[in-house]
């Protein structure tokens, strides 16, 4: 169907076959970023330029672009944590039951990121927390880096001397994001399969932040470490044990290029449903959807919601051995490099499905459109949440109060001809 659409013009910053092949298959015409494109798969830098005030560039109604200019509110490690913390406080202040806490002061429904501090800024807070449980392990991550670069694990305060000094001397000049770190409680009890640690890479498409409209891709995958997991101190600096990034693992001796250590979510589901039961597996995947929606809600107020933008995020999630999912980070530009042939097929489909959701029927994009595609255009995406639909659902219901109640019910949608407002 897409093939019958108009010959759109596209610009693309990345030389990735999974992108280019999709554009060419649709018969689109390549143009440079300076020309009049309809569809621009851009890097975050280009997007920043396009939207910078100095350029004074104005996008027309038939142009869409692949990032939100202030995506970093979600995708920079420190800002994501800040926004989620703020979101929880706000809900709590409102008296929203979602922000309910247990006796220990932990959020019951919103405890989905490991305890995290900024360094050097929060050094003292961190020390306080560390001393409560001095045998725990923490993970240090530079805020502005990706692909596992600059990450290390610590289990003694002395390993943080440099940051303690910084926190004292540099209190006037804010350190650049290059020198700032987040330090997070290390999830030292990850769910292991075949004795190995893994994390999930899930793709989440956002077509609008206000109202929030987001989709979860079904074809995400698990990324396995090549080495058996071992929580012992002697292995703390063996990154093949602890970091699941493919960019790290592929340098390991045991890296297998045929499958690249990637296991489909579908396989994970079969395994969990069989070994733990369907209910347990369903609950896990529901919780993953839940945390995804709330991470997006946490930033929906601060991201500038430009109608020309859409964005496909790469969510990193770790499941612990109690089958609780933890949000580790969100990537604005998940890797589109294909490590294996099935990886290539999956990523090609991902791009294709994104385009179909952004521009159903291969039509020229129109930013005035309400961005409610019909279900047939979902491809391998599932609707996670559509705030607009959820609200009209609420209006259509006699008992609105009950619907805005607690927990997941706030997101529960209806099955109908129209897309449901949520995955539920």
């Amino acid at each position: 169907m897409a093939l019958n659409g108009p010959r759109l013009k596209y610009a693309c910053d990345l030389d990735k076959s999974v992108l280019i092949n999709n554009f060419e298959k649709r018969g689109w015409i390549p143009v440079s970023a300076e020309e009049d494109w309809n569809f621009y798969w851009a890097t975050v830098q280009s997007v920043r330029n396009v939207f910078s005030l100095d350029v004074g560039y104005r996008l027309t109604d038939d142009q869409v672009i692949s990032h939100f200019p202030s995506h970093y509110e979600l995708t920079r490690k420190d800002l994501m944590v800040k926004n989620i913390k703020r979101y929880r406080r706000e809900l709590e202040r409102e008296g929203n039951p979602i922000a309910e806490k247990d006796e220990g002061g932990h959020y019951i429904h919103l405890d989905f990121i490991p305890v995290t501090f900024m360094l050097p800024a929060d050094y003292n807070l961190f020390v306080e927390e560390f001393r409560k449980n001095p045998s725990s392990t923490w993970i240090m991550k530079p805020c502005g880096k990706a692909r596992g670069i600059g990450i290390f694990l610590i289990n003694r305060l002395s390993q943080l001397k440099k940051w303690s000094r910084d926190s004292k001397t540099n209190s006037f000049t804010a350190p650049s994001s290059k020198d700032t770190y987040v330090i997070a409680r290390y999830i030292d009890n990850p769910l292991l399969i075949g004795g190995k640690k893994f994390d999930l890479r899930l793709y989440v498409l956002v077509t609008s932040f206000r109202p929030l409209k987001c989709y979860m891709y079904q074809l995400g995958f698990c990324r396995f470490c090549t080495v058996k997991y071992n929580a012992s101190v002697t292995e703390l600096d063996n990154m093949f044990v602890h970091l699941t990034n493919v960019s790290i693992q592929k340098h390991g001796d045991d890296y297998n290029a045929v499958h690249g250590g990637k296991w489909t979510i579908q396989n994970l589901r079969v395994f969990l449903e069989s070994t733990r039961g369907k209910e347990v597996a369903d609950k896990l995947f529901d919780e993953i959807n839940w945390l995804t929606v709330h991470s997006l809600k946490a930033v929906s107020g601060v991201v500038s919601n430009d109608r020309h933008c859409f964005e496909a995020y790469g969510y990193d999630i770790i499941i612990d051995d109690n089958l609780k999912p933890w949000l580790i980070e969100v990537n604005a530009s998940p890797s589109l490099t294909s490590t294996t042939s099935s990886d290539r097929i999956m990523k090609y489909k991902l791009i294709s499905d994104i385009i179909n959701l952004i521009m159903p029927y291969g039509k020229t994009p129109d930013v005035k459109w309400n961005k409610i595609p019909s279900k047939e255009h979902y491809g391998n995406f599932d609707l996670l949440y559509d705030e607009e639909l959820a609200q009209s659902d609420l209006l259509n219901l006699p008992d609105t109060k009950a619907r805005s109640g607690t927990g997941t019910t706030a997101f529960r949608g209806k099955d109908g001809k129209r897309p449901a407002a949520t995955w539920k």
Binding site: G194, N256, H259, Q266, V270, S274, T275, K278
Partner: protein, 629 residues
């Protein structure tokens, strides 16, 4: 003189064997090194179990039976050591402990507990005080029914019942049943005359009846009817003589290949591991995949392709050539053997297409169907097998490693389970209980003799101890089970049961309806009758569909379908207790891709059309093929 029994002269090169050595990108062994003399046998002397010593260009095997875990030793040593004291401690004391026991009460208890199942099994008449059908009587009848369904005559049934009774008597279950019966007596406050019924009722209520039934069912599954009095042992194993001969020749070729591998690589069939190596291996038990032995020189003994050639070369010598050439033969496929196969109608189409079991129940349902209930004794038994792995390094271990590395390790569905596969397959090769299945099989385990005693039965041991020499893809029989059984011990027993009930059929030549020959034939026949147009097209362009489907069949589709779909397929193998669903699915796949297949003009093109099956859904496919005719 030789290691494994096989012909006389040992040729160094295993070619002419149909094995494509280059297929796996392995180097062909070019520089043949003279084997090094290993003189370990003196050191272990009597305690060694399997010790291969290579000398002067050939590898002789020295095997002492002592350390081997035989079925008998399992019973004598493991069961006795751990079970008897336990049983002794509980047995008689149990009655004494019963505070309410009056003398006559106690006597009844003794009476019942000494009522061996045998007297119950022989029928209700043997029961002095049975006034209504007893639990065991019901079991007897149901076993009778099952046996009759199997088409046995009265005599055979009686013999069968006797054997099963004997086996049940010898089993742990008998002991447990007695215990449970005593428990019932202790609990019930009934008077002497009603006590038998009460006990039976109690056993039924507490689920023991079901357990017993299952045990009988299981025994029936693995019990072959007593042979015809005039039949020779080998006729009993395989009645069709040309198939029997073919299987024997095939076994000879396999052994030859294993022997030449020993010689070429100067690796003994088995040798004791040095102490340090044993310890290292024990430490690494759950991650054996990371430090595998050097496998570069090993190659699979055979691949499905080689086996297909053998299946294809089977020919009924009684078939008159002239009839065939006169066009009377409708055999167009590869399989030339003439065996009776079923048509779709016989296969009970609706039955096959029934809905599968919900994924969550599969774990228990499969265990139930295969009667696998891992208890302490099983755990102990597994531990013993593991100990045997640690003790001796066997040539087949290399074959197992090699196979896992070539298949599961590179498979994007199964790689995460690599280490589980070693934990199943290495102990499996030491498991002498597996030998029992050969009574159902046309295959015969390879024998190995102590040096100088070739052919003297008293000095023979089977090699490997379980009698099964793995081939390329063998690990894939285990792999799908890893999705549902997380615990290596349960996984082990599930696999063993799957193998000894079903999978051995897939790589053995036999006339059995579950055998690979019949399955291949069934596939070819189904395709011809159900998809004549497609069949005609493929025949015209010279494509043999079985060449494509055979690899699916021999692996029960493991590694070809998506994991979930393999499990759905195996659900049905278990539910209907037959492998015949495999050719039905193979047919369905051909039918489903028919449009594309109708356009191909070469085998390569046909293979390309059928190369990726991971998107297929088994259930709708089977339904499609069964209902749209």
């Amino acid at each position: 003189m030789g290691m494994l029994e096989c012909g006389s002269s040992q040729r160094r090169v295993a070619n002419g064997f149909g094995i494509d050595v280059l297929k796996y990108g392995e180097d062909v062994v070019s520089d043949f090194k003279m084997p090094i003399k290993i003189s370990e046998h003196d050191r272990f002397g009597e305690t060694s179990a399997l010790a291969g010593i290579s000398t002067g260009g050939r590898t002789d095997l020295h095997i002492a039976m002592r350390g081997m875990m035989t079925g008998v030793r399992y019973r004598d040593e493991i069961l006795d050591v751990y079970v008897r004291p336990y049983a002794g401690a509980i047995g008689p004391q149990f009655i004494l402990k019963d505070d309410n026991a009056r003398p006559h009460h106690a006597r009844v208890v003794e009476d019942i507990s000494s009522t061996r199942p045998s007297s119950m099994w022989t029928g209700q008449h043997a029961h002095p005080i049975s006034t209504r059908p007893s639990t065991l009587g019901t079991c007897y009848r149901s076993s009778h029914k099952m046996a009759t369904a199997g088409g046995f005559d009265e005599d055979t049934i009686n013999r069968l019942v006797n054997t099963i009774v004997k086996e049940v008597q010898d089993s742990m279950l008998n002991f447990e049943l007695q215990k449970a019966a005593q428990e019932e007596v202790r609990r019930s406050n009934v008077r002497v005359f009603g006590i038998k019924d009460a006990v039976i009722e109690g056993l039924r209520a507490s689920g023991w009846e079901m357990t017993l039934r299952n045990e009988v069912y299981k025994k029936l599954q693995t019990q072959s009817p007593e042979p015809h009095p005039l039949a020779s042992p080998e006729q009993t194993k395989e009645p069709v003589s040309y198939i029997r001969k073919a299987q024997m020749n095939w076994e000879k070729r396999i052994l030859k290949s294993v022997n030449s591998m020993c010689t070429e690589l100067s690796v003994p069939l088995a040798k004791k591991r040095p102490e340090k190596e044993q310890k290292d291996m024990a430490l690494k038990w759950t991650e054996l995949g990371t430090d595998e032995p050097d496998l570069s020189k090993f190659r699979p003994v055979y691949a499905p392709k080689d086996f297909l050639e053998i299946v294809a070369s089977l020919k009924n010598p009684n078939l008159v050539e002239s009839l065939e050439s006169a066009g009377f033969s409708t055999r167009w496929g590869i399989v030339q053997a003439t065996l009776k196969t079923k048509d779709l109608h016989d296969l009970g189409a609706q039955e096959f297409a029934k809905k599968g079991c919900p994924i969550t129940y599969r774990v228990d349902l499969w265990k139930h169907i295969l009667c696998v209930h891992v208890d302490d004794i099983d755990t102990l038994y597994y531990a013993q097998l593991k100990a045997n792995v640690l003790l001796h390094d066997m040539l087949v271990d290399n074959l197992i490693y090699k196979d896992v590395k070539l298949t599961a390790t590179n498979d994007d569905q199964y790689f995460v389970f690599e280490d589980y596969l070693y934990q199943v397959l290495l102990p499996f090769s030491r498991d002498t209980v597996v030998l029992n299945h050969f009574s159902q099989s046309s295959a015969t385990p390879a024998k190995s003799y102590i040096r100088g005693k070739l052919g003297v039965e008293a000095f023979a041991v089977t090699y490997p101890p379980n009698g099964v020499i793995p081939f390329h893809g063998f690990a894939m029989y285990v792999a799908p089970l890893c999705f549902i059984y997380n615990d290596p011990v349960t996984l082990y027993f599930m696999f063993r049961e799957f193998y000894t009930r079903y999978f051995f059929h897939l790589h053995t030549l036999s006339s059995h309806p579950q055998g690979i020959v019949s399955l291949s034939l069934l596939f070819e026949t189904l395709l011809q009758t159900q998809e004549p147009q497609l069949f005609f097209h493929l025949k015209t362009v010279g494509i043999q569909p079985l060449k494509i489907a055979f690899k699916w069949l021999i692996r029960a589709f493991s590694g070809y379908l998506a994991s979930e779909q393999v499990l759905l397929l195996w659900d049905r193998i278990l539910a209907y207790n037959t492998l015949e669903i495999l050719p039905v699915l193979a047919l369905a796949i051909f039918a489903f891709r028919k449009t594309n297949l109708m356009q191909v003009a070469s085998s390569t093109a046909a293979e390309a059309v059928l190369s990726d099956l991971t998107t297929l859904k088994v259930i709708p496919l089977i339904q499609l093929s069964l209902f749209t005719q």
